[in-house]
Structure formats: structure tokens, C-alpha cells
Amino acid sequence: MVPTHYYLILSAILFGLGVVAFIFRRNIITIFMSIELMLNAVNLAFVAFSRALNKLDGQVFVLFVIVVAAAEAAVGLGIIIVIARNRQSLNVERVDLLKL
């Protein structure tokens, strides 16, 4: 059986990739994908713990996360479409209306 910490290390690597991509990429779609990557890294950790501890809680959480991610994808993609229509660009650096 694969030891639990292998899963955790993989999960951490995936999460780290997600963070780095989130910070350094400019395309909104890519950023969006990196969020999904982070969520799924967490899911992997949940499942790994669930199995190691022999409890179902982790798997229940994973289902919740997947549902929330789906909902978030729907809303997020809607926002992205609106931005793309209004600005003809997906570059996140152009979206800075909140600036003082």
C-alpha cells in the first residue's frame, strides 16, 4: 500500500503549483484552472486522510468540495464571459477598477 505521506507530498506539490500559477499567470482562464488545481490538491489530501484514518468524513468533504467547485465554475465562467465581452481581453492586469 502506498504510504499516506506520498499522497500528502503530491497534494502539497499540486497545491503549490496551483498557487504559483495563480500568482504568475495573466490569463483569467489559466488562473481559474489553477484554482481548480488547488481545490483538487486539497481533495486528494482529504481522501488520503480518510483512508489512513478509516473515516468517511474526508470523502464527504470531497463531495462537498466538488459540488462547490462546480457551482463556482458556473459563476466564475459567467464572470469571465462578461469581462471578455466588455474588454475584449482576458488579461487580468487590465481588470483593476478597484484601484484607488
Binding site: 495563480f22 500568482i23 488562473i31 492586469e93 483593476d96 477598477l97 484607488l100
Partner: protein, 657 residues
């Protein structure tokens, strides 16, 4: 329905009058303002009379009659209520305040008829009546203090009534500030009493104090300290040394105000407080001695200044200070009923003197300098006669009021154990001086040749509304003393008997003293009358027979004369010693250093710091989504570090082990 259950009506009526006149009076004609002001005080006087009538039918165990209306302050064990109390001492004060106050209100309708701010004057005057009645009716020190401060406020407002005149505004401020010094002591006294007895209500406080052992003479115990602090307050309000300086300046106010507030009622509040607290004072012989000395010194000191003043109202002001000194002298030697008696008779004849002086000023067109009067007796007959009555009364000629009250005080001073002879001698000397300066006033004002411009000044007698109160007060000045006529005139001393329930505890060993007193009474009375006659004779000789003599005397003794004329330079000394240093400290330390450099600098610094921090932090708000993400990540890392920090350390420690 007994008015004793509705005691609050007595002070409430003037308050109502004050409010009505103050809010609506500006648009009303003088007649309506008169009706409201005189009516409300008149009704208050009637209510007081009715209350006194019912009071005399009360059973002795119901005295003092205390009525609790509502709780005003409650904090822990401390309770201060709006409680009114009536006992024999209150009765005397109540009748004097409402009665004399009402007469002076009537007089004012004539005196102030041609003045601006008519409604304002009466609104203030009624307000004064309200606070004064609260003061005398209060059943605890806290409520008494409300009245005490309230009369101070009304006094300030009325002294500065002609506020466009700088001297009047300054005099008002001076009165207020000097009184504040005394009030400071008064409040400390109250705090000490509360700490010791746990209450400030008169009845339980005095009940607790009575069985306690008295402080020894020369010993600074609780009673002595508390009494001296209370007496500080009394010194301020009743214009005793060294806080008397405000009263002569207070003469800037309209004359009826001088009569009501600065002669008859408010300034006697200090005497009232000492008499009210007599149980505390009898436990503190040192404090009593101080009261007697201060009273005696003030009486003499003020009388000497009064000798040379030429402003008619200022002479009377110093005379008031001097007579208040007499009252404190009486209280200081334990003769509280004599002190209160002099308070009452003084209220009659000094109010009369001021009102008559006002009538003179009114008649001669606003002149107050006696050197520009003279020969007025024929032209203003009634004013002259009433003022002469008051002068005879204050100088102590039998059988007028002042004779009996002053005699009682001098007798008590003579019998006092501590320095009685010295107190008596100064008291007697003061009586001589009083007689002299009062007759000097009469002769300068009413006799001799006119020294005013007869062509320009049309001397006219005052209207009836002014003369009638004068006559009533004149009658009171004559008969007011008979209540206490000592035994050798026939009737017993009703006044002292009346006040006996209040001062009973202090009249220990009264019978032996009374026997001794009766033997002394006649010789001392003769001495007093002789000294009064002497004062009269000297004044008569100097100001009628040899009119040039006073100026010569002033020249030959110019040192003494100038010192007296400048009131011993007390104002100048106070200005140099207290006012100037205080101003300097206020300006250059408190204002320019503390306020500007410390307080303002701190406040401004904090404000500028906030602006600067905001300026710096503002740049984090870039609007760039990814920079926010960086902050989120950093935050998450910090939180992870904080949470996991403890787990790293034991591991290392464990490894070392």
C-alpha cells in the same frame, strides 16, 4: 391638606415666576412682569406664613419636620434626596427671605421702572429667591449646596446686570471666582463628613455626631477639620477675611440687588450654615475659636475701611461685611441664637439702609458720591426718616432692633472662655466705629449745605412703591428686636426661647450663665450705648460743627487715611501675590507650554501619524487581483507558521535530549 406636605411649593413659586418672566417677559409691558414677579414671591411669602403657622402646631417629636420628595443621587451607600426640612431655624430664615425678599421686589418695581432689561432683572431676582429658599429648606448638605451655588449664580448675574459696563462685568466675575475658592473648602468639608458619618442628611448626621467625643482645644481632629472647611465656604459666601474682597465690588449691581442679595439674605447663608452645623462646631472648640477670631477681625477691619469711603453704597457694603463679622463672632463664642438674631435684625435694617440709599440715588439722579450730596433731609423727608431709623438701629440705640442683637452678641463674647475680653473690646470698638461711619453717612448725605448742582439736579421724592417697603422695614427695624428684649426690659428673650429646640444641645449649663448674664446685661448695655453715643458725637462734631475738620485730619494723618481709603491695599496685594502669578502660570506654562506644546502637539501628532500611515498603506490597494492573491498567500503562510511553531520547538528540544 396641609402645606407642610407640600413644602416644595414655597421655592417652586419664584422658580415659576422666573421661568415665565425669563421666557416670555421680553415682549410684555412692565405691569405684567411686575404682576408675575411680585405675585409669585408674594404667594411664596403667604405659603411660608401658612407653613410656619402649621409648624407651630406640630408636636415636638415631629420637629424637625422632614419631607422626602424624590431621590436625586444614589451611588452605593450615598443618597442625596430632594428633601426639605423645616425647624425653628428654618422658620426664621424662611420668613426673613420671603418677607424681606417680597418687600424688595415691590421696591424694585419702582426703582427699576426706567431701566432696560426690566423682565431680565425680575427673572434673575426670582431665580435668586428660588435658590435661597432651597438653601434654607434643604434637609441635607448636598441640596443645601445646590441652593448655595444657585444663589452664587444669581448673584453673578445680578452684579453684572449692567453688563455693558466693564466694571460691573468684572465685579460679577470677581464675586463668582472668590466664592469658588470658598466652595472648594465647603465641598471638601462635605466629603469629609460623608466619609466619617456615611450620610449628609442633617437629622441622622447630627444624631450620630452628638454622642461623639469632642476634639480637644488646639487639636486637629475630624470635627475641627470638617468645621474649618465648612467655614471656608462660609467665609467666601459671607464675605469674611480673607475672602471679603468681592462684596464691596458687588455694589456695581442695581441697588435692590445689593439690598436683597448682598446685605439681607445671600451673604448670611454662611452664618446660616454655621448655625445649622452648630452640633459639629460645638465638637470643635478650635474651629469655634477660629470662627470667633475671624468674625471679630473682619468686623473691626471692615469698619475701619468704612470710615473713609465716600461712595454711599460702599460704606454700606463695608458695614455689611462688618456686621457679618459680628454674626460669626456670636457663632464662634457659642451664641448661635444671638448670631441668628443679629442676622434677622440686620436683614431688616441693612435692607432698609440699602433701599433708602437707593432712594437717595434715585432722587439725586444716579449720584453715589456722598461728597456731592448734602442737605437732602428736607427734600426727601420720608427717605430721610426711614434711613435715620435704620441708622439708629444699626448704631445700637435702644430700643431699636440693632441694640438688642448687638448687645446679645457682645454679652456672649464677654462671657467667652477663650479671650473673651479681647473679643469683647474689639466688638465694642467696632460698635463705636459703626455708629461713627453711619452718622457720617447721614450727615454727609442729608445735612449741611447742598454740594450738588442745584440748578441741574431736580431732587424728587421716590414713588410710593419704593416708600412703602421703606416704611415697613423701618417699623421692623424698630420692633424687630423686641422679641429678644432681655429680661430687664420686661418680657423674656422670646427669640432665644424660640430657637431653643434647635440649639438646645449647645446651651449646656445655661442657668448659671443666664444668672451671670443678667447681672452683666445692664452694665454692658450702658457701655454699648455710650460707645454708640460717642460715635454719634464725633460724627456730629466732625461733619456738622466743623465741616473743614475732616479734610485737615485726612491731611495730618495722610498715611493712615490713604491706607484706609485704599482699603489697606488688599486688592493690590491680592493682585500682586495671587492674580499676577496665576495669570503668568496660566499664560506661559499652562497655555503656551502645556496646551500648545504638549496637548495640542500630541493630538496633532496622532492625526498626522494616522494620515502618514494611511498614505503608506494606500499603495497595497493596487486593484491588481494577483497582488491580493500574494497577500492571501503570505497571510496563509504566516498563519501556518504560527500554528505549527510550537510543534517544531519540542521536536528540537527532544532531539537535544
Amino acid at each position: 391638606m396641609s402645606i407642610l406636605n407640600y413644602l416644595w411649593i414655597i421655592p417652586a413659586l419664584p422658580l415659576l415666576g422666573s421661568a415665565v418672566n425669563g421666557f416670555f417677559g421680553s415682549k410684555w409691558p412692565n405691569k405684567i412682569v411686575n404682576a408675575v414677579a411680585v405675585g409669585s414671591t408674594g404667594l411664596s411669602f403667604l405659603a411660608a406664613l401658612e407653613a410656619v403657622r402649621e409648624f407651630t402646631h406640630l408636636a415636638p417629636e415631629n420637629i424637625p419636620w422632614v419631607k422626602q420628595y424624590f431621590t436625586w443621587i444614589i451611588a452605593g451607600d450615598f443618597r442625596a434626596g430632594f428633601d426639605l426640612q423645616i425647624d425653628h431655624l428654618t422658620v426664621v430664615m424662611l420668613l426673613v427671605v420671603t418677607g424681606v425678599g417680597w418687600l424688595i421686589h415691590i421696591y424694585s418695581t419702582g426703582y427699576m421702572a426706567h431701566e432696560g432689561g426690566y423682565y431680565r432683572f425680575f427673572s434673575y431676582l426670582n431665580l435668586f429667591m428660588f435658590f435661597m429658599l432651597i438653601l434654607v429648606l434643604a434637609a441635607n448638605y448636598v441640596l443645601l449646596f445646590v441652593g448655595w451655588e444657585g444663589v452664587g449664580l444669581s448673584s453673578y448675574l445680578l452684579i453684572g446686570f449692567y453688563f455693558l459696563r466693564k466694571s460691573a462685568a468684572d465685579a460679577g466675575k470677581k464675586a463668582f471666582i472668590v466664592n469658588r475658592l470658598g466652595d472648594f473648602g465647603f465641598m471638601l468639608g462635605m466629603f469629609l463628613l460623608f466619609r466619617t458619618f456615611g450620610t449628609l442628611d442633617f437629622v441622622p448626621l447630627f444624631a450620630k455626631a452628638t454622642p461623639m467625643p469632642a476634639d480637644a482645644m488646639g487639636h486637629l481632629g475630624m470635627f475641627t477639620v470638617a468645621c474649618l472647611l465648612l467655614f471656608t465656604g462660609a467665609c467666601g459666601k459671607s464675605a469674611q477675611l480673607p475672602l471679603y474682597v468681592w462684596l464691596p465690588d458687588a455694589m456695581e449691581g442695581p441697588t435692590p440687588v445689593s439690598a436683597l442679595i448682598h446685605a439681607a439674605t445671600m451673604v448670611t447663608a454662611g452664618v446660616y450654615v454655621v448655625a445649622r452645623s452648630h452640633i459639629l462646631f460645638t465638637h470643635a472648640p478650635t474651629a469655634m475659636f477660629v470662627v470667633a477670631i475671624v468674625g471679630c477681625a473682619t468686623a473691626f477691619f471692615a469698619a475701619t475701611i468704612g470710615l473713609v469711603q465716600t461712595d454711599i453704597k460702599r460704606v454700606l457694603a463695608y458695614s455689611t461685611v462688618s456686621q457679618l463679622g459680628y454674626m460669626f463672632l456670636a457663632c464662634g463664642v457659642g451664641a448661635f441664637s444671638a448670631g441668628v438674631f443679629h442676622l434677622m435684625t440686620h436683614a431688616f435694617f441693612k435692607a432698609l439702609l440699602f433701599l433708602a440709599a437707593g432712594s437717595v440715588i434715585h432722587a439725586i439722579g444716579g449720584e453715589q458720591d456722598m461728597m456731592r450730596m448734602g442737605g437732602l433731609s428736607k427734600k426727601i423727608r420720608w427717605t430721610y426718616l426711614t434711613m435715620l431709623t435704620a441708622t439708629l438701629a444699626i448704631a445700637g440705640f435702644p430700643p431699636l432692633a440693632g441694640f438688642f442683637s448687638k448687645d446679645a452678641i457682645l454679652l456672649s463674647a464677654y462671657q467667652s472662655e477663650h479671650g473673651g475680653r479681647i473679643l469683647y473690646s474689639f466688638g465694642l470698638l467696632t460698635a463705636l466705629l459703626t455708629s461713627f461711619y453711619m452718622f457720617r453717612l447721614i450727615f454727609l448725605t442729608f445735612h449741611g449745605k447742598p454740594r450738588y448742582d442745584e440748578k441741574k439736579v431736580h431732587v424728587h421724592e421716590s414713588p410710593k412703591s419704593m416708600l412703602v417697603p421703606l416704611m415697613i422695614l423701618a417699623v421692623l427695624s424698630i420692633i424687630g428686636g423686641w422679641m429678644a428684649a432681655p429680661a430687664f426690659f420686661g418680657p423674656p428673650d422670646y427669640f432665644a426661647k424660640f430657637l431653643e429646640p434647635v440649639f438646645a444641645q449647645t446651651a449646656g449649663g445655661a442657668e448659671a450663665a443666664e444668672a451671670a448674664a443678667q447681672a452683666l446685661e445692664i452694665p454692658l448695655a450702658i457701655v454699648a450705648v455710650v460707645s454708640a453715643l460717642l460715635g454719634f458725637a464725633v460724627a456730629f462734631w466732625l461733619y456738622l460743627k466743623q465741616p473743614g475738620k475732616p479734610a485737615q485730619l485726612a491731611k495730618s494723618m495722610s498715611g493712615v487715611y490713604n491706607t484706609l481709603l485704599h482699603k489697606y491695599y488688599v486688592d493690590e496685594i491680592y493682585a500682586a501675590l495671587i492674580v499676577k502669578p496665576l495669570l503668568w502660570v496660566s499664560t506661559s506654562v499652562l497655555w503656551q507650554a502645556v496646551d500648545v506644546r504638549a496637548i495640542d502637539a500630541t493630538v496633532n501628532g496622532i492625526a498626522e501619524g494616522a494620515t502618514d500611515i494611511g498614505d503608506g498603506v494606500r499603495h497595497t490597494q493596487s486593484g491588481n487581483t494577483r497582488s491580493y492573491a500574494v497577500w492571501v498567500v503570505i497571510g496563509a503562510l504566516v498563519i501556518i507558521a504560527i500554528i505549527f511553531w510550537p510543534y517544531f520547538r519540542p521536536a528540537t528540544v527532544g532531539m537535544v535530549r
